[in-house]
Symmetry: C2
Subunit: 411 residues, 2 copies
C-alpha cells in the first residue's frame, strides 16, 4: 500500500523540489495540464514588464539593435537546442508548430523529387496531418500520405518514401519512438525524417544531432512553459542548410534584409528559415522559460518523470480499480513521454468534474483523460491528492451531472 | 513664416490632443517612427498584466474558454475590420504579414488556374515580393512576376494576370493608390487583387468592402500600435469564402479542431484562414491598441495627418532649404499616406545624428530619411522641434561623425 506520508517523504528527498517555487501556481490547484499549457514562470512576469515598459515603451524602435530583438530567434533557438541535443546554429524560434512543419515539409519534398510518399501515423497530432494534406493539394504532384503502424514504422518505408514525419511522443498515449533507430531506418531507404517534438522538448531527453535527425519542429507553450501560443521552433541539421530552399521566403530570412533588395536571397545557415517579424512579447516570455529549464538537470528530471508515471498508474490501481479506467500507452517507462492517459466511456464529464475540483487535466476525444507529469513543479503528494479527488468523483457519482456534459469550445 | 507659437495655437485647438496622454512616450523624445513600431498604449500595460498574471497565471488552460482566447483571432479581426471598411466575419488576426500574404497568394492562384502572371511593383515592400518569389519557385508552374509602373497599373493588366498584389501606401514615398479604381481595373481584366495595408490600417481611411476588394493583409505593429512583432491580419471578401482553400491548413482553421479528426476540413467562413495556435500575449496587446484607435474619429485623424504632412514639407522648405534634401512622393495630399520622406546622399548618418538627439525616424536604403506622422500622439510643435534639430545637425555638420556611419543590424 502506498500512503500519502510515504510520498511526502519522497518529496522531502526530491533534488528538484526547489524549482516548484519558480512557478506561479494557483492556490489549491493541482495542475496536470502542463503538456498543453505550461504554468507561468515567475521570472516571466518581470521579464515582460521590462520588455513592455522599457524595451517597447522607452527604447521603442531602437530595441531591435539596443536590446537585440533582431537576434532573439537565433539566440533563443540555440538555447532550445541545448534542450534537444542540437549544436548551435541549427534551431530558430519562430511562428507556430504548424507553420514550421509546413516550412520543413515544403523544403524536404524537393530534396527527394522522385519520391511521392509521405509517411506518418494516423494518430499523429491532427494539425501535422492537415499540414501535409494542405501541401499535397497545393502541389498537385501526386504525393500520397501513408499511415504507418506505430509499432512497425519500418514496414511502411520503401524507395517511394520522400519524408517520414512523426511526433516523437504521441499526444494521446505518450508512446515514444526510438529516434535514432527510426531515423536510421528511414535513412536506410533514402527518406528524410521530420520529428515533431511538441511533447518532447523540455519533457524527455532528446538528442537530435546524435540521432542523425534531418529536421524537427516543436512547441513553445507546452513543456517549455513559454506562455499561451508561445512561438514554436524548428531544427534543420547543418548538413542540409545549403540545400534547403525556404518556401516561406520572408524578409527575416533574407541574406541582407535591410538592403531592401527586390530579389530574394536566403541567409546563410538556419536564419533562412525565418519568415516575418517575430512576436517579441511572446518570444521574450518563452526565452526566460527556457532559461529556467536549462537550470534543471535533465537526467534528474527524467528520473522523476518516470517515477511520477509509475506512481500515477500504481495509485489508479490501488484507489480506483473498480471504476472502469483503462491505462493507455506502453508499460515500458523508457518508451513513454511525460504524460499519462486513462480511457473511460464517460471521460468528458469525469474530466469536467475533476477540473471543477481544481484537478486540471484535459480530455482528448473520444474517451481519453490526459494528465501531464511535469517534474519541476509537481510533487508526489500532488498525485496522491489528485487520485483522491478522482476516487471521490467516481465513488459519489459526482461526475454524472448535466453541467459536466456541456461541451466547451476548447476541450 | 511659420512660427512655433502659431503651431502651439494649432495644438491648443486640436480635437485629438487628448489621445496623446493615452500613450507612453519617453521624456524628450520626438517619435516619428510610429510607421515602423507604434508606441506603447498605456492600456496595454494593464492588459498584459491581467493576461499574464490572471489569465495565464491563475486560469491557465481554462482561459481558452473562460477568457475566450479561442475567439480572439476573430473578435480582434472584426475590430480591425472596422478600421479598414470590412464588415464582420471577413478579417482575422493571425501570424505575420508575410505568412498571411503567402496564404492569400496560395489561395488566389488556384482561383485563376489558367493565368500565370502576378503583377506588383518593384518598389513594393521587399518581403511581399519575396513571398511571391518563394511561391513561384515552389509551384514550378511557370508563373512570372511582372513589375508595373506605379503610375499606370492598368498598363500592366491583361488576360494573363491572375493576381495583382500591391501595397496600398508605399513604404518609401507614401504614394497611395486609389483602391477602388485599381481594383476595378484588375477585375475588368479578370484578375484578383491582394492589398497590403501595412502602412494604411490605422493611418488612412480604407474601405475594402466598398472598393470591391478581394483580399488584404496588414501589419499589427505599425500604425495599429500593437507592440513589437504584433500579429498581422488578413481579409477575404465574403464572396470568396467558399472557394478559398487554405494551403496552410492548420488545426485552428479546421471545422472542428477539438474532434481531432485525422482529415482536414476547412471551417466555414474566414476562420479557415487561421493555422496554428495564436500568440495570446502579443495578440492581447494588439487588441487594446486597436480598441484605442477605434475611439478616434477617422476623419479628424486624416485631416490632422494631412496637415502634419503639409507642415513637415513647409518647415523643411522654410528652415532647411539649403541642405540638399529632396522631398519624395506625391504633392497631392489625397494621394499620400501618413508619412514623409526626404532623400539625401548622407541620409544614413544624418538619421543617426537625429536619433542620437531624440528625434526618431528611420532610414531606408539607399538614401531615404523616413518620418511617420501619427495624429494621435504627435503635436504640431513636435514637427517644429524635430526640424529645428535637423537644421542644427546640418548647419553644424554634426552628422559627419564616424560613429554615425557604422551600419547597425537593423536600420
Amino acid at each position: 500500500m502506498i500512503t500519502r506520508a510515504e510520498l511526502a517523504a519522497w518529496d522531502a528527498q526530491d533534488s528538484l523540489a526547489s524549482f516548484r517555487d519558480r512557478f506561479h501556481l494557483p492556490d489549491g490547484v493541482i495542475y496536470l495540464d502542463g503538456n498543453s499549457l505550461g504554468p507561468l514562470p515567475k521570472a516571466a512576469v518581470d521579464r515582460l514588464q521590462t520588455v513592455v515598459n522599457t524595451e517597447w515603451g522607452e527604447d521603442l524602435i531602437r530595441s531591435w539593435n539596443k536590446n537585440d530583438w533582431i537576434g532573439q530567434p537565433q539566440r533563443l533557438g540555440d538555447k532550445i537546442g541545448r534542450l534537444i541535443g542540437a549544436a548551435p546554429g541549427q534551431v530558430v524560434a519562430a511562428d507556430s508548430t504548424s507553420i514550421n512543419l509546413y516550412k520543413l515539409l515544403a523544403a524536404a519534398l524537393p530534396m527527394r523529387r522522385d519520391r511521392k510518399v509521405i509517411v506518418s501515423q494516423r494518430d499523429n497530432f491532427p494539425t501535422d496531418l492537415y499540414m501535409v494534406q494542405g501541401l499535397m493539394v497545393q502541389l498537385g504532384q501526386g504525393h500520397t500520405l501513408r499511415y504507418a503502424d506505430p509499432n512497425d514504422i519500418a514496414a511502411s518505408l520503401d524507395s517511394d518514401v520522400a519524408v517520414l514525419m512523426l511526433t516523437h511522443v504521441n499526444y494521446r498515449d505518450a508512446q515514444m519512438y526510438d529516434m535514432a533507430a527510426v531515423t536510421k531506418a528511414a535513412h536506410d531507404c533514402g527518406a528524410l525524417v521530420i520529428w515533431d517534438l511538441a511533447h518532447s522538448a523540455g519533457a524527455v531527453p532528446v538528442s537530435l544531432d546524435a540521432a542523425g535527425a534531418d529536421f524537427a519542429v516543436g512547441c513553445g507553450y507546452k513543456f517549455l512553459n513559454g506562455g499561451p501560443g508561445a512561438p514554436a521552433f524548428l531544427y534543420v541539421a547543418e548538413r542540409h542548410h545549403a540545400e534547403v530552399r525556404p518556401v516561406l521566403a520572408g524578409w527575416m530570412g533574407h541574406a541582407a534584409p535591410f538592403d531592401f533588395s527586390s530579389d530574394y536571397a536566403p541567409a546563410p545557415g538556419i536564419k533562412r528559415m525565418l519568415c516575418g517579424t517575430p512576436p517579441v512579447l511572446s518570444m521574450s516570455a518563452l526565452e526566460v522559460a527556457v532559461d529556467l529549464l536549462l537550470e534543471a538537470d535533465i537526467a534528474a528530471t527524467r528520473t522523476k518523470s518516470q517515477r511520477l508515471t509509475q506512481l500515477f498508474f500504481d495509485l489508479v490501481d490501488q484507489e480506483c480499480s473498480t471504476f472502469g479506467f483503462v491505462s493507455t500507452g506502453p508499460s515500458d517507462l523508457d518508451r513513454r513521454g511525460s504524460q499519462v492517459s486513462l480511457t473511460h466511456p464517460e471521460g468528458y464529464p469525469i474530466m469536467q468534474a475533476l477540473i471543477d475540483r481544481n484537478v486540471i487535466g484535459d480530455f482528448r476525444a473520444p474517451d481519453i483523460l490526459r494528465f501531464g507529469l511535469t517534474p519541476l513543479y509537481l510533487r508526489y503528494v500532488d498525485l496522491w491528492d489528485a487520485i483522491a479527488v478522482l476516487k471521490e468523483v467516481m465513488a459519489t457519482g459526482a461526475w454524472d451531472a448535466p453541467a459536466y456534459k456541456v461541451r466547451a469550445a476548447v476541450t
